[in-house]
Each structure stands twice: as C-alpha cells, then as structure tokens.
Amino acid sequence: MLAYIIRRVGQSALVLLIVGLVAFSMFRFVGDPIDNMLGQERTAEDIDRLRAQLGLDQPFVVQYYKFLEGAVQGNFGVSYRQGRPVAEILLERAPATLELAMVSGVLAILFGIALGVFTAIRRDGVLANVIMSGSLIGVSLPTFLIGILLIYLFSVELGWLPSFGRGETVDLGGWSTGFLTESGLKALILPSITLGLYQMTLIMRLVRSEMLEVLRQDYIRFARARGLRDRAVNFRHALKNTMVPVITVIGLQLGAIIAFAIITETVFQWPGVGLLFINAIQFVDIPVMAAYLMLISVMFVGINLLVDILYFFIDPRLRADRSGGH
C-alpha cells in the first residue's frame, strides 16, 4: 500500500512537470505582455530592456526552469498587471472558487447518486423517466446558457437571488467565507447550481447505468433468493458495487468543477481564481497564468490520487492484489 502510494506520488509529480512544460510552450501564442505593459510612447530600447528584465527573451524551456526554481521555494513571481506577488493574489481569490466548487461538488454528488439510484430502482416508473429526460438538459445545455437562464428567471424576473458577486463575506484568518452571511449564501445558490448541474446529471446517468448492470448480477439474484429486504439488496449489495467505477468519474469531475469554474465565474462575475485567470489571459499575465495552471493540475492530480487510495477501502480484491497475500 505504502509503496503503491509512493509510486503514484512519483507519477503525479511527473505529470505536473509535463503539464507545466506544455503550458509554457503555449504562452507565447497568447500574446505579448510587453504590449500591454508599456504605454503608447515606448521606444525599442524600453521594450528590449523590459523583455530582458522579465526574462522573456529566453527560450521557453529556460523560462519554465526559472519558474520551477521559484515555485519550489513558494515564489510564483509577480503579476505583470497588478504588480503584486502571484501567490498573494491566488490565496486571496482561492476561497471564493473553493467554496463555490465545494458546494457544487457536494450538490452534484449527493443529488447525482440519489437520483441515479432512484432512476435505476424505479426503472419503469413515470417519475424516473421524467428525471431521465430532464437530465438530457443538464448534459446538453452549455454552462453559460444555464447560468444566463437562471439569472433571467431568479434574478431578473423573480428578483429572489443576486445575479452577480459573492455577497457579504466574513474574514476568518485570511479565508474569506460566504457561508456565514445570508447574502453570501444567497449568492452561492445560482452559481453552484450552474457549475454543478452538468456534473450532477453526468453522475446520475453513470450511477443509473452502472447500477442497472450490477442489479443483473448473480450475487444480487442470490441476495434476493436469500430473502434479504429490498433496502439491503439495493443499498448494501448493489450500491456499493456500483460505486467502484463511479468513484473514478466523480474524482475526475471534481477536478473539472474547479477547472470549469472559469465559465461560471465569468457569467456571475464571481471573484475567484477562474475570473482571475480570464483577466490574466487578456493581459498576457504569464506569472498568473502559470501559477493558476499549476494549481489546477495539482488539484486534478491530487484528487485522482485520493480516488485511487479510496479504491483500497471499497474493493477488497485490490487490497489482496497489492499486498501480495493469499
């Protein structure tokens, strides 16, 4: 188990390095930050001087190496646009995105699994079929459109919920939370639904199809033949077996929730890292882009690592294979 985790951490580190390399090779196609940083009255000397000062005259591999050198020491450079350390800006913005992603993720997982189980058990029921048809909306409508529709309905027409921003936040030792104020909670509702809807429908459809597959298995028939109650058959026997493949996808989707927060944050002007990234792209703010991409990759890789470790607790067959016993 420990050897396995160490091996996986090693693989994860390699993945991060490669992601960073690819990212750096792309940055020069985004635009030239010098254009934005110097005003109209610039001379060729000014441009060359600034370029050399920022190290932008070097090949991207060298730039990447310098970035890594700093990153290892916790120094992600200084934002070209704001002139402040990137780490500071990210830390300031991260709570907004993480809270949003957390609420969306919890909603997506809870409702996704519950509805998936329901539609699998009541396969031929009217309500189950209505839910399945409705889920097509969640899968097929783009996120920004859902966000705009929700704003139109609940903010513009009904006036119940705010259409943008985080509402009031409370500062808890450097972490600004929206969970403690009424306006903060209200502001969370629409963005988290927008962000989580796709993942919820995806999880629901996956849980349903996996569960239907599991319900066909012999051990489910045998559990029924032993006269176990429906609740025990469906939840103790079927759901647990359903979760093995579902957890993989849930892990990937949690990463996606944080990554795709960009769109939702743009629609709702949510002051998180996604919005920061969009603004950074417009300004070609390379330190911010680089740090953001690394942050997202760390989260993706970390979640996947957690998922793999979770398998050990769910599936005893893996435990036996890895420990080499029996």
Partner: protein, 324 residues
Amino acid sequence: MADPVLSIRDLSVEIPTRHGIVRPVDGVSYDIQAGEILGIVGESGAGKSMAGNAVIGLLTPPAHISKGEIWLNGQRIDHLKGDAMRRLRGKEIGMVFQDPLTSLNPLLRIGDQLTETMLTHLPIGRAEAEKRAVAALEEVGIPGAAERVNSYPHEFSGGMRQRVVIALALCAEPSLIIADEPTTALDVSVQAQIIALLRRLCRDRGTAVMLITHDMGVIAEATDRVAVMYAGRLAELGPVRDVLTHPQHPYTHGLMASTPLASQGKSRLHQIPGAMPRLDAVPDGCAFNPRCPYATEKCRQAPVPRVSNGQAACWYPLVDEKVI
C-alpha cells in the same frame, strides 16, 4: 406418506413476446417429500430452471405463473406477492446457483453475508448470528472457519465458494432447497464433494431438495426420484433407478443412450435426431413427436396424458427396453 414439503400442481409459466405467448413451463406437477432429493433433468431451455424460479418467486418479468398451484408445507404460495414472498425466500426456500464465482457479493465478507441472512429471518441477535455463521461454515467443511468468516469471496477457490453458497442457502434452515445446476461450473473432482455435501446436509436436516441439472451422472449419484423435462413439459417422472435403467419415454431412452459411459470405451454415441423445438413452435400433440422413432398419427394430434408418479407422458411407453 407424510404431506410433501413442496407440491406443484399443473404449473404453467408464460412469457408474452412479440410473437405471441411462449410457455417455458407447461402443466408440470410433482411433489417433493422431506429429506427427498428430486432431480429435474432436461436440455437447456426445457424449463428446468424456470420452474425453480417460479417456486421461489424470482421469475423475471414479464414471465409469470399463468396456471396451477404451488404448495409449500401446506401453504399455497404461488399467489404470494412482494414482502410475503420475500419472507419465504431464504427462510423456507433456499437456493443454490450454478456459478459460485458470481453468486457471492465480492465486496462483503462472507461472515457478513451469512449474518445478514440470519438476522433477516431468525429472531436472534448479532452475537448469536456470528456464532452460527462460524458453525455454518464448519458444517459445510470449510477449514479454519473461525478465521475464514472474515475472508472475502475472492479468497476462496471455486469449490470452497460453492460450499459457502450452500452454507448461505441453508443458514436460516429452510425446508426446501432449490439447487440450480450446483456443480456445473465446478471441476469434476469437486463436483462429487459438493453433491455428497448437499446429500448429507439434507438427509441430516430432512430438507427437501429440487436438484436441477443436465448431468445424468449427478442424477444417478444424488437423487431419489427424477423428473425428465422436455420443451416445458414433464416427459417422465419416477424413482431414479427405474427411470435410468428402464426409461419408458422414448426421449428419456434417447437421453440415456446418448450419455457417455467410461466403460463403453470409444464407441460412437447415440444421438437423438433433430433438436428440441423452440418454445414458440412446440408441435401439436406430443412435443417430442417429430424426433420420436415410434411416433404415430395419434402422437401428432391428441395431447398426451400428463404424468403423475412412475409413468411417462407417452401413448406408447417403452417396456422392457434395457438401456445399459
């Protein structure tokens, strides 16, 4: 004779399909006494398993019991629904499936699967159930039962898993066991052990057994009486010795003649010409008539008499035709 544990009367199972209604079980009647093993034999699709599923109430819709009665210990059970039927499963009727590799939930310890079954049906506490789980494993011959209750199914071999399955089927002490091809998926050497185990447990407890198989060897070895099924109907029913050595129905005769015997060497095996009819195209009269060497006009038209004990569903039962 005492009242039978299981009594099936004129049972039919129907499945509506696009091409009309098919009847995988058609007017079948038999009894099983306490402590008796009744073998049900026939080809794939002859309705052997379907009848077993009907008894335990696990027919997959749209299949349903369309006619007849099922009596268990003097209680009629064919019309029981939902929770009333569930209470009988495991408690009064145990079932053993064909493939022990897929019958056990891979994610639950076998001890947990045993205790959950007992706690569902018996008025006992967890501690008592755990004690009985160990005893149940010991009884089916699992070495080191006290430790093995904490093992997962994948830590057992196929034969050991089938022992676990049998322990699970018997742990709430049912009066009837339906064993659906319990040895088909096992090695030959293990088959005999499992059959012997099933026989011993059922004799000791007086459990009635419906042993579904297509293996004549298993039938000869394990059963007291045998019912031969063909195209959903009972072709012949009788004491195992009579049926195997003096089959009266031409189908049973053909079946016996096509069973390879080690003593026969490499001689050419007998074959029954043709194939069992599809269930949506069962011929009029006797279902076996197109393949029967003795068929007459009467066999092609008049429905054959249904069997009760010790006779064949045939207008012209074979007499004194020794097979082996």
